[in-house]
Amino acid sequence: MANAYAEYETKLPKSIMEEVKQHAAGATDAKLKKILAAVYIEYQRALVDPGEAVGNVAAESIGEPGTQMTLDTFHFAGVSEMNVTMGLPRLIEVLDARKTIGTAMMEVYLLPPYNAGQDIKKIAEKIKETSFREYILEFHIDVLEANMTIKLDKTKMDMVDATPDKLIKVLLKGLKGFEFTAIGTDTIVAKSAAKDEQLKDIYHLKEKIKDVYVNGVKGIKMVLPVKRGEEFLIVTAGTNLKKILAIEGVDTTRTTTNNIYEVEELLGIEAARQSIINEMNKVLDNQGIDIDVRHIMLASDTMSMSGHMLGISRYGIVKEKPSVLARASFETPLKHIFNAAITGEEDHLNSVIENVMLNQPVPLGTGLPRIVVRHFPKKVVKKAKAEVEA
């Protein structure tokens, strides 16, 4: 039985072979041969033609349904508690390879036993970037003493095993020129360390102290433990893939971010390529638009082929084109033409648009093959040539 497969292993793509194996399980050897032969014929029939303008087809396939997408920036994506950029704006964002995106988001998957919901609240709280503001219950400023008493949120502190002493350490790191003393288990007194202490310093402190970073992963603005299927995971607003993956209990194989640049930086261009495909699919699924993966893959491959992310814009892919006229026909034509003239560039007319400009056949599809036609017998041509030369 294995023999029958072996013959086609190189002839058929892996995905189709898998499917045959799945559907033809238990078939006899002879039957299997028949099946594979039939599949092979079908496969041959469905191959792309050389010269097919697959790039244009992909661009059409992605661009055409663009008009059907909503402009609604905010849409609920799985989690009804969070607003996420979706629809056309998100698609533009992905294809632009923008560095700052509308809603940065992560899906943090957890390893057992945490994915069954154990300690999920605690893990979530640990991940979240917290500033001192969240530990404060109330301020009390003593004008005479020129100090400030801060009442702390005990329940909040217990969640992350914090004590006033620990918090003071953090505060000292984040703020210069103040002294802190802990009183009891839930109160801190702050005082200016400078000799000529001033009340206005304390008032300044009151504002500044709120923003002191205490713990958690920087960049994670919000955490939401959610149950998806049988599994618990944490959805976050804000991303920091590097730090999150380092946390114990996080499933590093499935945890993702929607920030493509972060993926590229940490996991490389191949991962970023896949990330673009995933992100685009997310948008399209959400909008109920059917586009074959091949088109999305091609768009993603064009963006990542140079080894780093290039947006589909005048600063990205178009800038890298070898042809002067192709660049000039997109945007800012004068800039391209002048630069080309200064550097003495040559345009070898290999791509589509230059040949359109010159009224020549385009090197795609039926414009690709060259046929040499002899209009006249050889003799006549020879004679005419001789005449011309004479």
């Binding site: 793509p13 995905s15 033809a24 079908e42 191959l47 792309v48 033609d49 010269g51 097919e52 790039g55 244009n56 087809v57 992909a58 661009a59 059409e60 396939s61 661009g63 663009g66 609604d72 508690e81 056309l88 698609l91 939401l224 059917d290 586009i291 074959d292 091949r294 091609l298 491959d301 082929m305 589909i312 178009v318 800038k319 890298e320 084109k321 070898p322 002067v324 026909s329 997109f330 800012t332 004068l334 033409i337 630069n339 200064i342 550097t343 003495g344 040559e346 007319l349 290999n350 589509v352 648009i353 359109v356 400009m357 009224n359 020549q360 090197p363 795609l364 039926t366 209009h375 005419a384």
Partner: protein, 860 residues
């Protein structure tokens, strides 16, 4: 005999014109701003000099001797009295001045490190590309700026700043363009590559103009107004200014005028030359007409969508095309287009006379232009086109012989390309066969509305007639409608039944049965003439009638929509070309889904499928024609019990919402994680109200009479959905505005009829009434709000998605599959090793896959 020579442009080299080159290529030196003499004849040495080409009929060009339309025009030049800076090279000149020595012109880099820079730059260009090289050059220049002692001649360097747009200052002293030019001349060729200047393409001093090329008059033609007055082109105006000031400057210099006057004139010359190139330089006031509107000078002519590049070079126009309003005609085939007779008599097809068709083509010429089918032109072998008129007809008929070409009127069966804008995908331009019809509109089969995205509310479409054998062959083989049935976007058919065609077939397969004569009558109206497959019995069922349209050996099993017994009962089963069971609806016949159609396409090929689809379509329409089909208000009448049920549901929901508001006011509402109290309330209320809309929808679905026109349209998928019906029959529902309920427009309330702070459903855009019961004034207002919002959304979205599309197309248009199966771009770089990882063409797959399961099933 003349041998045709086929030439193709191999490459284009971009360079800067040197002053010497400009003089050499010129055919005239321009010395006077005058245009015409008293007789209106162009002045010699003026801007309209006949040596620069001709724009007046009758005149001959003095350079090439050709007439108007033959002479391409020739450049001239003017000698500038004093050099001026070319606005486009200001940046480059500044960089060069700053990074070279003011005394010796040497680069401010020690000789030993120069080689290092050059290799580094070459390396960057090789690995990262041109633009990165340019970035690095900018960095190098920034470094050099700070060096203040020449490493070659030890001369002290001064700080140079640019006073925009064109004045250079060295330690607050102005450097004249003459001085700049001499400095630039001193820079050696070897140093230029560092700045990205190729010495073979450009010498830096050419950035300071000493001579100015004058574009040919053919490029700036004047228009003669009705009054006989001449109106000159903007460029001519600008050039006139330049020449005038230039002459004045010459005169003043020769007369030894004071320096200050010369400086002023020089600056003015600089201004005119700058605005001649670019009239939108930010620091300069644009040069204007007397009427005050800015002149369109060279830059404006080239750039932007209406500029030379995108408008004229990348966008072409064609002859032999037509455009008019479209209208539907289900009686023509899907690959036909109905062309009005008047159009068919203007559009022509060239046909070459041979000894076999001479008589045939002569008959066209004989009928002439006024009688259909005639001919409009005869083309002689030397390429001369002769129009057929009553006077020339006789002579032409005698003259005609093999080798002549007759441009005859359009006939039935001719090849045409049909197109509707926006041409968003390749199915927006397909090849149809001409069918000349009476009337004045272009006709198309409504089944092809989907790929064109056309309707008949006034849409216009374009028709093109290919003029060569190659073009016709390509159109017919690659672009004909039936070859485009399967979309390359998702591998399913984009052409299918719609509207009446779906509901008609639905009724046919679900309810109808006929007497045999009736069945035959129906089949005849569809175009079937062979009735041996109609069962020979008294009563023929609708399914049996439909089966006649299918191929005799066709087999198909549809997947039931769900596991409900009703759905399983309605699933289509076709065995040996007979519709055994099931109901035909949109999922089988429609565009986008069309599983039955997709299978037919797969099994019998595009051509047969096209024919079958045409018949199924006509069948649907003819069924409705015979059966009758209406939708009325009574279709959505509900029983009193159902009405009661809906009322209770709505009351319950409203009570729930009020309870939530109560909790909200007492702050006892349970918060959703990460949300404030206000947001939580809004989300919860929205959720509850949407739920009740769906509930009422369900009540309507259960209680509406399934055999009414409206419900049949919904059930078959022909038009409308259950939500639409529910909105008509039960409750319109919550109006969503910017992702939430309608928020305050007045202080504390949405409309002045409500109390301040009212958060109840009614005050926030919940429409309790149905369209049938009628909307209250405030409900109508809320509805108008969301309506306007969605209009705005569409208006904003179209240009956004259009731009995205343009960028995508521009970035990816060169990618093609090579013979080795790789996908490469224009320069041969590999983008994918196998297209889509498996080399499959999506339009040849079933939804992107090879249907292995079906292949195995078919093998038995």
């Amino acid at each position: 005999m003349e041998i045709p020579v086929y030439k193709q442009v191999d490459k284009i080299v971009f360079e800067i014109m040197s002053p010497k080159f400009i003089k050499e290529m010129s055919s005239a030196k321009i010395v006077t701003p005058e245009l015409y003499d008293k007789e209106g004849y162009p002045v010699d040495g003026g801007l309209m000099d006949v040596r620069l080409g001709v724009i007046d009929p009758g005149l001959r060009c003095k350079t090439c001797g050709q007439k108007l339309k033959e002479c391409p025009g020739h450049f001239g030049y003017i000698e500038l009295a004093r050099p001026v800076v070319h606005i486009r090279f200001v940046k480059l000149v500044l960089d060069l001045l700053r990074s070279t020595c003011r005394e010796c012109g040497g680069l401010l880099i020690p000789k030993n490190r120069l080689a290092q820079y050059v290799t580094e730059l070459d390396q960057i260009e090789l690995t990262q590309g041109q633009s990165e090289r340019r970035d690095r050059i900018a960095e190098i220049v920034a470094e050099l700026k700070t060096i203040n002692k020449c490493p070659h001649c030890a001369a002290k360097q001064k700080k140079i700043v640019l006073e925009k747009p064109t004045t250079f200052l060295e330690d607050d002293r102005r450097i004249s363009p003459i001085e700049i030019r001499t400095r630039l001349e001193r820079i050696g060729d070897d140093d230029l590559p560092v700045f990205g200047v190729n010495p073979r393409a450009m010498r830096p001093e050419w950035g300071i103009l000493t001579v100015l090329p004058i574009p040919p008059v053919t490029m700036r033609p004047s228009i003669t107004l009705e009054t006989g007055e001449r109106s000159e082109d903007d460029l001519t105006h600008k050039l006139g200014d330049i020449v005038r000031i230039n002459q004045r400057l010459f005169e003043n210099i020769n007369a030894g005028a004071p320096e200050i006057i010369i400086e002023d004139l020089w600056d003015l010359l600089q201004y005119h030359v700058t605005t001649f190139f670019d009239n939108e330089v930010s620091q300069l006031p644009p040069a204007r007409h007397r009427s005050g509107q800015p002149l369109k000078t060279i830059t404006a002519r080239i750039k932007s969508k209406e500029g030379r590049i995108r408008h004229n070079l990348a966008g072409k126009r064609t002859n032999f095309s037509a455009r008019t309003v479209i209208s539907p005609d289900p009686a023509i085939e899907i690959n036909e287009v109905g062309v009005p007779k008047v159009m068919a008599m203007k559009l022509t097809v060239p046909e070459r006379i041979t000894s076999w068709n001479a008589e045939y083509l002569k008959s066209f010429v004989k009928r002439g232009t006024a009688q259909y089918p005639g001919a409009n032109y005869v083309v002689r072998p030397d390429g001369k086109r002769k129009r057929i008129t009553d006077e020339t007809k006789e002579q032409l008929l005698e003259e005609l012989q093999p080798g002549y070409v007759v441009e005859r009127h359009l006939l039935d069966g001719d090849i045409a390309l049909f197109n509707r804008q926006p041409s968003l995908h390749r199915m927006s331009m397909m090849c149809h066969k001409v069918r000349v019809l009476p009337g004045l509109t272009l006709r198309l089969n409504p089944a092809v509305c989907e790929p064109y995205n056309a309707d008949f509310d006034g849409d216009e479409m374009n028709l093109h007639i290919p003029q060569t054998e190659e073009a016709r062959a390509e159109a017919e083989i690659l672009m004909q409608v039936q070859t485009q049935i399967v979309s390359p976007r998702y591998g399913l058919s984009v052409i299918g039944c719609n509207q009446d065609a779906i509901s008609g077939n639905y009724i046919l397969s679900k309810y109808l049965s006929f007497t045999r004569p009736e069945a035959i009558d129906l089949l005849m109206s569809v175009g079937i003439e062979d009735f041996k497959r109609v069962p020979n019995k008294k009563i023929v069922s609708g399914r049996e009638v439909f089966s006649v349209l299918l191929p005799e050996d066709f087999g198909f099993n549809a997947e039931p929509k769900s596991n409900k017994p009703a759905d399983i009962e309605n699933a289509v089963v076709i065995k040996d070309g007979l519709l055994v069971k099931g109901v035909l609806d949109k999922s089988q016949l429609g565009a986008g889904a069309g599983l039955l159609l997709r299978t037919l396409h797969k099994q019998y090929g595009a051509d047969d499928m096209g024919v079958i689809l045409g018949r199924i379509y006509k069948m649907g329409i003819n069924v409705l024609l015979k059966y009758g089909f209406t939708a009325g208000i009574s279709d959505i009448d509900l029983s009193p019990e159902a009405d009661d049920k809906i009322r209770t549901l709505l009351n319950e929901a409203e009570a729930d919402v009020h309870r939530m508001i109560g909790q909200y006011e007492q702050k006892s509402l349970e918060l959703l994680p990460g949300r404030t109290l206000d947001e939580t309330l809004e989300l919860r209320v929205l959720e509850r109200l949407n739920k009740v809309r769906n509930e009422t929808g369900r009540v309507v679905a259960e209680n509406a009479v399934a055999s009414t026109g409206t419900m049949m349209m919904v059930r078959s998928g022909a038009r409308g959905n259950l939500i639409n019906v529910a909105q008509m029959a039960a409750c319109v529902g919550q109006q969503a505005f910017r992702g939430g309920r309608i928020s305050n427009g007045y202080k504390g309330r949405t409309l002045s009829v409500f109390k301040k702070g009212d958060l109840g459903p009614e005050a926030r855009g919940f429409i309790r009434n149905s369209f049938k019961s009628g909307l209250k004034p405030h409900e109508m207002f809320f509805m108008a709000m969301t309506g306007r919002d969605s209009l705005m959304d569409t208006a904003l979205r179209t240009p956004k998605s259009g731009y995205l599309y343009r960028r995508l197309a521009n970035a990816m248009q060169d990618l093609k599959v090579e013979y080795d199966g790789t996908v490469r771009d224009a320069s041969g770089k590999i983008v994918q090793f196998n297209y889509g990882e498996d080399n499959l063409d999506v339009s040849r797959t079933e939804a992107g896959r090879i249907n292995v399961k079906k292949i195995i099933e078919n093998l038995g």
